[in-house]
Amino acid sequence: MSPWWQAHSALHPNGAQLSLIIDRLWSPMFAAAAAIFALVAGALGWALLRRRAAAEAPDDPGRERGMRWTVSLATACTVAVLLVLLGLDISVSRATTAAPGRDALRVVVTGHQWWWEIRYGGVVTANEIHVPVGRTVVLELRSNDVIHSVWPISLSPKLDEIPGKNNSLSLRAERPGVFRGQCAEYCGHQHAKMAFLVVAEAPGSFERWLQGQRELAAPPADDLARHGQQVFLSSCAACHTVAGTPASGRAGPDLTHLAGRATIAAGTLANTRGNLAGWILDPQTIKPGAYMPPIPLAPADLHAVVAYLETLR
């Protein structure tokens, strides 16, 4: 099965903030750590295995002076290396925490158990953060239940969403792509399956996407979808919103433009017809403990509601 996002690793950054950290902090620290480990292991190996003269006394006082110099020198080197690393840390810290410019795009990301609500002004979507390439985006991090942590793995460091506290996390995508993100703070049963996607696209297509998201859901065009909408309004609307219909529940993700998203269930399943049907019938097998209950629909109703959901572009 091929991933519907691109390979993700913090060591191959796609975002400006993370690039800075990896290049200017991780690389020198990793090199220093490898060198120090080699030195310590080498010194230990030599101390253990060196040839000893038969007459050598283990507590020869004449040797103590040399040992004092060696231990002192090693300690001084430790201090020096730490000071250099501290300097690097402070300089990178200042650069990554610099205030974003006025033109930064502000997106409110609210963590819920176990999905993400994404708001651009009045536009509401879920589990997918679209950003324009090359522009700084400030994620305003909110939570009304427990602590979550937003981690766009290959784009930026992570920051917690803490009830009662307003944090913000800056990221700037350097290239277009679909990048995976993950909740990093343990938040209950389905912490494992609380992922999100960051979709970085050229500014023009980002604006078109945002414009599309502002529109109300188009009314269903055929009988099957019309039937599906009826099923939706009676079975799903208590928890989900579809703008332009009476469905205005807030407990679950806004589904106004569901069909435009790559995944369902917070980055857990590809957004396909079969997965949608399976998720509606039996979410508790896919995400045990999630707040979505099983919806036991008759096959015809299920078929219709999936068809309706697929019209929500």
Partner: protein
């Protein structure tokens, strides 16, 4: 306790008795009561210390089994061995067990067993309190596991972050069980700390000045002071949490003016020092073992002691580095980065001193030394990744990922479990009188060393590849499957190595070669008495005039003469010398309490009371509180007579 003038209880003017007769008299005075009742009433530090170590090791095995099941679940993507509900209990139990029921208690337990022997005392300063500490710990841990087996194990993580651990998001009794159980272990740790501090300051053999104390005793002393300053914070925090949950206070509820970060500050103000509570005694083991198996004193005694003390101070200035992803002000964070990096300096100094000692000495490649070598290699890797996560931007990348899981297992397994296994091989002959087998010991070491690295090294990469900690499964598409499979294979090696250790212990207990008093040629006082030590530890309180008491042949040669003269034999009662805290001058002769049924009774009543509180039977809980008060009266009604 009461005092008389030094020497008056057994002064040289007493009619000399034969050595055998004196030892029989000591044996009669100190002999433990037989049978189960005698065992329950015991206040001997060796008996308590040994059962403490064994209990803690049983919890280590339980925590290890939990880890093994989790590794089985994570070996393949989307496995179904554990669902999220069970997995979340498993990882919470694993962390809680390893930190609260194994790592801290086992170090305290080793101290309770070894410190009196290493300073030439006959028992800890408050033997009944000491027994109480053990029973409270045992009952608290047993209660936690009972609830876990009843599917009411805690599931909010071993640091129980609110609001997830609050009533709204964890409405069952699971978090209550956690909050109450760790309170039990906090009491036990505080008891052990008080014991060790007072014993070290007041009960050292005459002549053992502070600067002649073995490094392990220093480590236990410094660690005990850390416990005194660290444990009250978690006790406060866990009681706040219990109150939020049981009587609806609002310490941690943001909607009603509480603060969720307050919990994190309180928890980590204890939780970071806790790492050093575990590490410092382990460093003491390492110092003892390095000296013995290089046949020379550890190089740089003052530097070693000052490093321990510096670590203790700095250990309290790092807690915020667990909170770098909470969005605290940047300037404050830089302070904690600097402090976190600084603590590498005293650790570095100690490692340099050990390497210098090994270089200058003549290493004997016994199993304890192998584990010490493993300790240095594994712990240094953990320390280096620790410097990385001390940096705020880098920590914000790897925080709460498997990189951090790798880091703290390198630190804790490297810094505590390797030294502990070294200590088991080293002191087993003293405790049992038999050597712990070398050939199986080597298999144990190599499989454990390989297993630990195979399990935890790939986790660094997994974390950088985006795998968060505390996930019960992951999707195949993440690409994390192969490294997870490798890690699970390593875990299987660890399991095999620990099984070999258990077999080795079982075989050696019956058929190990006899150890004699001092099989290693070691420098500290516990090797100056028989193996296992008699109930009174030393027939004659040893004379100390150097930091390496058992290597001091002149002093040791005088012990039999002093025994014949009756000089510091103190055979007329439960007596031990009391000395001055700094210079170790003879000060008074202290009468120690005899066996007592009240410590175990009080601990049991307290456990019942807690269980009734959890079950909302408040009247029964109040009855238990009244009963506990009555038990305390009985406890204090039989204090020792003046010597």
């Amino acid at each position: 306790m009461s005092a008389t003038l030094p020497g008056s209880a057994s002064g040289p003017d007493r009619a000399p008795a034969s050595t055998d007769e004196v030892e029989r008299q000591l044996e009669r005075t100190w002999r433990p009561d037989p049978g189960l009742l005698g065992w329950l009433r015991s206040v001997d530090h060796k008996s308590i210390g040994l059962r403490y170590v064994v209990t803690a090791f049983v919890f280590f095995l339980l925590g290890g089994i939990e880890a093994a099941v989790m590794r089985a679940q994570l070996a393949r993507p989307e496995a179904r061995i554990l669902g999220p509900d069970a997995y979340n209990q498993f990882f919470t139990m694993h962390g809680t067990t390893m930190m609260f029921l194994f790592a801290v208690p086992v170090m305290d337990a080793m101290g309770i067993y070894l410190v009196p022997l290493m300073i030439g005392a006959r028992n800890v300063a408050f033997p009944k309190l000491n027994a109480y500490g053990y029973w409270v710990y045992l009952f608290g841990g047993a209660f936690l596991y009972l609830m876990f087996f009843l599917n009411t194990g805690p599931d909010a993580g071993w640091f129980s972050y609110v609001p997830l651990a609050g009533l709204q998001f964890s409405p069952s009794k699971r978090v209550d069980v956690w909050a109450q159980t760790i309170t039990f272990t906090e009491i036990a740790a505080l008891v052990a700390a008080v014991e060790i501090i007072v014993t070290v300051f007041k009960n050292r053999a005459p002549g053992m000045t502070l600067h002649r104390m073995p490094l392990l005793v220093w480590a236990m002393l410094v660690q005990s002071f850390m416990v005194l300053f660290a444990m009250p914070w978690i006790a406060t925090a866990s009681q706040f949490l219990a109150m939020d949950r049981l009587v609806k206070t609002h310490f941690f509820t943001p909607a009603t003016g509480g603060d969720v970060l307050l919990w994190q500050h309180l928890f980590w103000f204890f939780g970071h020092p806790e790492v050093y509570l575990i590490l410092l005694p382990a460093l003491g083991f390492v110092s003892a073992i390095v000296a013995t198996f290089t046949r020379r004193p550890v190089y740089g005694y003052p530097a070693m002691v000052l490093s321990l003390i510096a670590t203790a101070f700095l250990g309290f200035g790092l807690w915020v580095h667990h909170m770098f992803a909470t969005g605290l002000p940047a300037l404050g964070e830089s302070f904690f980065t600097a402090a976190s990096m600084m603590i590498a300096i005293p650790s570095g100094i100690q490692i340099f001193c050990w390497i210098a000692t090994i270089w200058a000495g003549r290493p004997r490649f016994t199993v304890p030394l192998l584990f010490v070598i493993g300790f240095i290699l594994v712990f240094v890797i953990g320390g280096l990744s620790g410097v990385m996560v001390a940096s705020v931007p880098l920590d914000q990348v790897v925080h709460d990922t498997y990189f951090v899981v790798a880091h703290f297992h390198y630190v804790l397994i490297g810094g505590a479990v390797f030294p502990l296994f070294a200590a088991f091989y080293y002191w087993f002959p003293k405790v049992t009188g038999r050597m712990l087998g070398e050939p199986l010991g080597r298999w144990h070491f190599w499989l454990f060393f390989l297993g630990v690295n195979l399990t935890f090294f790939p986790m660094h990469q997994l974390g950088l590849d985006g795998m968060p900690r505390r996930v019960y499964t992951y999707l195949a598409e993440t690409g994390w499957g192969d490294l997870n499979l490798l890690a699970s294979g390593g875990a299987a090696l660890i399991a095999v190595s620990v099984a070999i250790f258990l077999v080795n212990v079982a075989v050696s207990l019956r058929a190990g070669s006899l150890a004699g008093d001092d099989p290693w040629g070691a420098d500290t006082l516990e090797w100056a008495t028989s193996s296992p030590p008699p109930p009174y530890n030393f027939a004659v309180i040893p004379k100390v005039s150097s930091p390496y008491a058992t290597w001091d042949e002149d002093d040791r040669a005088t012990d039999p003469q002093r025994l014949e003269r009756g000089d510091f034999v103190l055979e007329t009662g439960h007596l031990t010398p009391g000395t001055t805290p700094v210079d170790g001058h003879m000060d008074e002769i202290l009468a120690m309490p005899e066996e007592s049924p009240w410590p175990v009774t009080l601990a049991f009543v307290a456990t019942l009371g807690t269980a009734f509180v959890l079950a909302n039977h408040l009247i029964l809980a109040a009855a238990m509180a009244a009963l506990a008060a009555a038990v305390l009266v009985a406890w204090h009604s039989a204090e020792p007579e003046a010597a």
